[in-house]
Symmetry: C3
Subunit: 162 residues, 3 copies
């Protein structure tokens, strides 16, 4: 339980699961994590509060949301993804390497600090996993819309052992 | 031929191949499906009519195209992708699991029902393959433009056996 | 060294590495190439000049940048990615197949020739690697913003042997 110790050392707490909407009459159409084979796909996540609820602020980065707020949202997104991986894999040490990260920023016209926003995610992953396991290929883009008008969502592919 | 039987049971028909443009003087620059290794990449597909032609309507979801029309376009996109997989793999039973799906919605400003649109794709895949094989990690985003002004395009990674 | 000979035959020169910004006080938050396992993820790249500097023009395709300029930028992006792969893998012959390519075009409203833009990348890869190894699944989209206001960025997954 090396990663759990590292999270405690960094005083990082992972959020509870995202509450399901009350009117949900059917199962969701996707899985947060698809644990199959050595390369595991992780759905695009957004920022969550410690209780699991979606974290604001909402809107376009560079307009309703500042670059710094979006950077923090990306950091919360990393914690949310770690929480999903722990639930799906049982143990975060099973993630032996981060492979690829795709960061989508809901960008207002003219906002170009996309890289800074997504660094909030990448830097936390590298801090927790170390550079050898945590480093990843990365794609960053500004998008025209995101579910719930989240300022940032991030997807990943990780290598899983054990 | 388990999946073929399931398609017949659901009265689903897969479209013919996309007709090549008449003035095509060279081979296309990409493959609809790249069958190599156990994880097979599938190009972004759009909705097709039964005869293979690109299906309308065209334009931004939330403006020229309604959310319900885009949901149906995503459903047709799933059928188009299944048709490509059948042509590339010979047998849809060779797809042993859906791994990851990326749904791009050509979204008008303020349109946020992106998840509902892409559910048209995901729900059909899960209905055809069942929840164990059909469930997938998913990324949904609103984009600023798509080829042919399609309202939705969807890419995937699938696990292939045999 | 089959690919190196092919590059010489085509009189193609790969650019130097992207210079790091002078005020960089820490390591970058991502890797251009993540060489781990048989499927190797490549970060989104943009066009570079022979000296490694980011190549202009900058801005939206269909407004500040023409479709032809963006097509050429995509071609330069392919050369930049080959340069990164050579640095990461030691030998471009280790890339045994191109699997998936994601092309993001910073598109002005109404610009739809996205496919033509990204063909600048795909056609060069197929010319260099041949159709069997170079062909790839592909996703093309117009995005609302890209780092540095680049007109195009392209990510990939390649199969690596040896």
């Amino acid at each position: 339980m090396r990663i759990e110790a590292r999270l405690r050392e960094l005083e990082l707490t992972l959020p509870a699961p995202l509450p399901l909407p009350e009117d949900l009459t059917q199962r969701p159409s996707f899985a947060w994590v698809r644990p199959r084979g050595a390369q595991v796909y992780v759905s695009a996540h957004g920022p969550q509060r410690p209780d699991g609820a979606v974290a604001g602020p909402f809107g376009r980065v560079g307009a309703e949301v500042s670059g710094e707020e979006a950077h923090e949202a990306a950091r919360l997104t990393a914690l949310a993804m770690l929480a999903s991986l722990r639930r799906a894999l049982g143990d975060l040490d099973r993630v032996t390497a981060w492979l690829a990260v795709t960061g989508m920023v809901y960008a207002a016209p003219g906002f170009t600090q996309l890289t800074h926003v997504v660094n909030g995610f990448s830097d936390l992953i590298i801090t927790v996993y170390g550079e050898e396991a945590g480093l990843h290929a990365r794609t960053v883009m500004g998008v025209a819309a995101l579910p719930l008008s989240l300022p940032v969502m991030i997807a990943a592919v990780v290598e899983v052992g054990g």
